[in-house]
């Protein structure tokens, strides 16, 4: 053997040894013993202040309390999560318990019926009435494919009352009141509404969906699907007109179209805008980061200088004080688990725990979600745990602003809502008129319906 040959053979041997040692998998693969092993696909944003606590407060606690169940958890976030879910669905090997959406990004799980109907489980345990009725209604495929954390409202008007007070203004009672604030605030270099519209979904989800509900009613989608109304009718054109008016009047600055999502929270908190429009999920971003102890808006200021509401009465609206919302994310169970098996019982025990009083109370206290479980006494939790004012204000906001109308991208297909998203940006840029956008949306809707 020459030297080089010897080195090559040695390198290959080392490579094989390293590979096979490395390929042995982890200890957790082998140590399951007699426990029931459940695979779990979890969704977690590691940058979120409470993510580290979630592991100990939620997952470790479950394993400690249920020694007969072994969890093999996979934590993913954002696109990697969705890619993995699609691979699981395509291969028919869905994890036993998995985080999912009521439609949208989890459509394939619903349409392939990869998850079980959870209603019989809730009914069997007498739990069905213990959840907010909206959260246990049939979902995308006509059954309760996942048990949601709660309801998410996609429109929230964050108000900096100090800015209003300092400028002799009061919380507006109508759209006209808000519009009248543009000039006095602009004179002092303050924007009326801060919003980040670079991503097309923001305007559609966080403002337009609420406006569509106000002009079209809570059942606009049912009537549209039944062919009773169309996108070129007054309700939809008026909704687009309102957005056009907000840009033209300076209520929303056209510069917001170059602002990435979440980037104007700081300027709003600093008083450079009187209002900020986003979804309810953003309240957490203003609260205290437990790792640094710092908050964009301190608890004291949350109490004294900020309010949470919806845009007040719009001219010509058919329902008042409404908001747009969707059922939140939650947990589903793989349809591959044999019915009546011990594994099925274990998976249901986990889902019950994840949507039970303890975990939902914990999630409420971190601001992660608002409970779907009616046993969680929000007011009591807020008082007892001395939670930040935004959590208490959020509870009051939900109670004050009903009914809830559908979110555009929660009910329409992407072939249609993408045209709306782009159209809203074109209105913002002033390059298209509302009627033009309305007819394009109708065309997209007709094409989509024809292909069904």
């Amino acid at each position: 053997m020459t030297g080089f040959k010897r080195i090559s053979v040695l390198a290959l041997a080392v490579l094989m040894v390293v590979t096979s040692v490395f390929a042995q998998g982890t200890k957790e693969d082998a140590a399951a013993g007699k426990q029931i092993e459940l695979t779990v696909l979890n969704y977690i944003d590691m940058s979120e202040p409470n993510s580290a606590n979630d592991i100990t407060m939620v997952w470790d606690k479950f394993e400690a309390e249920n020694p007969d169940i072994k969890l093999v958890r996979e934590d993913l976030f954002n696109e990697p999560f969705h890619q993995k879910t699609e691979a699981y669905v395509a291969s028919g090997q869905v994890p036993d318990v998995l985080y999912m959406w009521p439609s949208g990004r989890s459509t394939s799980l619903h349409t392939t019926k990869s998850v079980k109907d959870l209603k019989p489980f809730l009914e069997k345990d007498g739990l069905f009435d213990q959840y907010n009725p909206a959260t246990v209604a049939p979902q995308f495929a006509g059954y309760l494919a996942m048990l949601p954390n709660g309801v998410t409202t996609t429109h929230m008007l964050y108000v900096n009352t100090k800015v209003l007070r300092d400028n002799g203004l009061a919380i507006p009672k109508s759209y006209a009141d808000m519009k009248a604030m543009v000039a006095p605030l602009k004179a002092k270099g303050i924007d009326l509404i801060a919003m980040d519209n670079m991503d097309a979904w923001v305007m559609q989800s966080c403002l337009f969906s609420m406006v569509v509900g106000r002009f079209g009613g809570v059942d606009w989608y049912e009537r549209l699907a039944a062919g009773k109304i169309s996108f070129t009718d007054e309700w939809f054109v008026k909704s687009l007109d309102l957005i056009d008016d907000m840009y033209k009047s300076g209520m929303i600055n056209r510069n917001s179209l170059t602002s990435p999502y979440g980037s104007s929270r700081g300027s709003f908190a600093a008083g450079k805008a009187a209002f900020y429009i986003d979804g309810d999920w953003s309240t957490g971003a203003f609260q205290t980061d437990i790792t640094t102890g710092k908050a964009l808006i301190s608890p004291a200021l949350q109490q004294s200088d900020f309010e949470l509401m919806v845009i007040p009465n719009l001219p010509g609206e058919v329902i008042h004080n409404s908001n747009s919302g969707v059922v939140g994310t939650g947990w589903g169970m793989s349809a591959n688990i044999p019915a009546g098996s011990a594994k099925e019982a274990a998976a249901w025990r986990l889902i019950k725990y994840l949507q039970g009083e303890y975990v939902q109370t914990y999630r409420l206290s971190t601001g992660a979600s608002f409970p779907s479980n009616l046993n969680v006494d929000v007011e009591k939790v807020v008082k007892e745990r001395n939670l930040e004012p935004f959590i208490a204000k959020r509870a009051a906001y939900y109670a004050a602003h009903t009914p809830i109308s559908p979110v555009v991208d929660g009910v329409l297909h992407s072939d249609v809502y993408n045209v709306i998203n782009v159209g809203l940006q074109e209105i913002g840029l002033g390059s298209k008129a509302p009627k033009q956008v309305a007819s394009e949306v109708q065309k997209a809707w007709d094409t989509w319906k024809k292909n069904q």
């Binding site: 957790e28 693969d29 976030f77 600093a270």
Partner: protein, 283 residues
């Protein structure tokens, strides 16, 4: 004559100044985003929201500490080194052996075999993702590092074989024939003649494999479920999303992910430049 000389001198100076201005502009364009990222990784989210462009008022290290622990980066970095090292060595060995056979020991099946490898260059990762996931599950390699390494090597080999074959073809046949007449085996010829001569293109293949494997996250995400087997890009992705709430930790995680590649480039920049140039000429 003097006037012409002076004019030339002024022209040359303007030319030099303009060249520097353009180069400085592009350097700033390339480096500023990195500096911005590093600078903001030392801010709290609150400070980032209020002050996006300036230096941190208070340099916060907790972002790195949290990202390092929560992201389980030590294990992920080790995994990335192992995947990248093993894939690169295996790709070089197997690709150049195959390339030598295709280029210098042809037979009737060579064009079909060569074509069957090179066609891999046309396949996108997305198109093979689900079939690959099914096969890896079927053979019982799901959630094992071998189940990651085999596809990694398989995906890197088409480019290695393509570049290697084209390069080795350019080595005169007379060299191989002379060695054969002198009694050298094909193995001896490969080791003693082909490998040393193919070193420049091997560097190109190595660079492409190292960067491709190091940055790969789609396959490792699909083919493993245990955190103990995932690699750095998956760890970084756990912090990065449109709805991320903590920019400081997100930026810290991105910087951590960036550092090994930066060190790799700074350590091997001469070889990388040479390798890319060789690949450009021969490719």
């Amino acid at each position: 004559m003097r006037d012409i000389k002076d004019t030339k001198s002024i022209g040359a100076r303007i030319n030099t100044v303009l060249t520097y201005v353009v180069m400085i502009f592009f350097t700033v364009m390339a480096i500023y985003p990195l500096l911005w990222l590093v600078m903001n990784s030392f801010k709290t989210t609150t400070e980032f929201q209020m002050n996006k462009l300036g230096f941190p008022k208070e340099w916060v290290l907790v972002n790195y500490q949290d990202a390092w622990v929560r992201g389980k980066f030590p294990r992920l970095i080790l995994n990335s080194f192992i995947y990248t090292g093993v894939t690169t060595v295996a790709t070089l060995v197997f690709s150049f052996m195959a390339a030598f056979a295709f280029a210098k020991i042809p037979n009737r099946s060579t064009k079909y075999l060569h074509g069957s490898f090179v066609i891999g260059l046309l396949l996108t990762l997305q198109s093979i993702m689900v079939p690959l996931f099914l096969i890896i599950n079927w053979v019982g390699l799901y959630n094992t590092s071998l189940g990651v390494l085999i596809p990694y090597i398989g995906i890197a080999m088409p480019m290695g074989i393509y570049l290697g074959t084209e390069f080795i073809k350019s080595i005169p046949d007379a060299l191989v024939e002379s060695a054969r007449i002198d009694g050298a085996t094909y193995w001896k010829i490969f080791i003693s003649i082909i490998v040393p001569m193919a070193a420049p293109v091997a560097v190109t293949v190595a660079i492409m494999t190292v960067t491709g494997t190091w940055n790969e996250f789609m396959l490792i995400n699909i083919l493993t479920s245990s955190d103990a087997l995932k690699s750095l890009p998956v760890g970084v992705q756990k912090f990065a999303g449109a709805l991320s709430s903590d920019f400081g930790k997100q930026f810290a995680a991105l910087v951590i992910g960036l550092v090994p590649m930066l060190v790799f480039y700074l350590s091997f920049r001469k070889e990388i430049t040479k390798g890319v140039a060789a690949g450009a000429v021969k490719g």
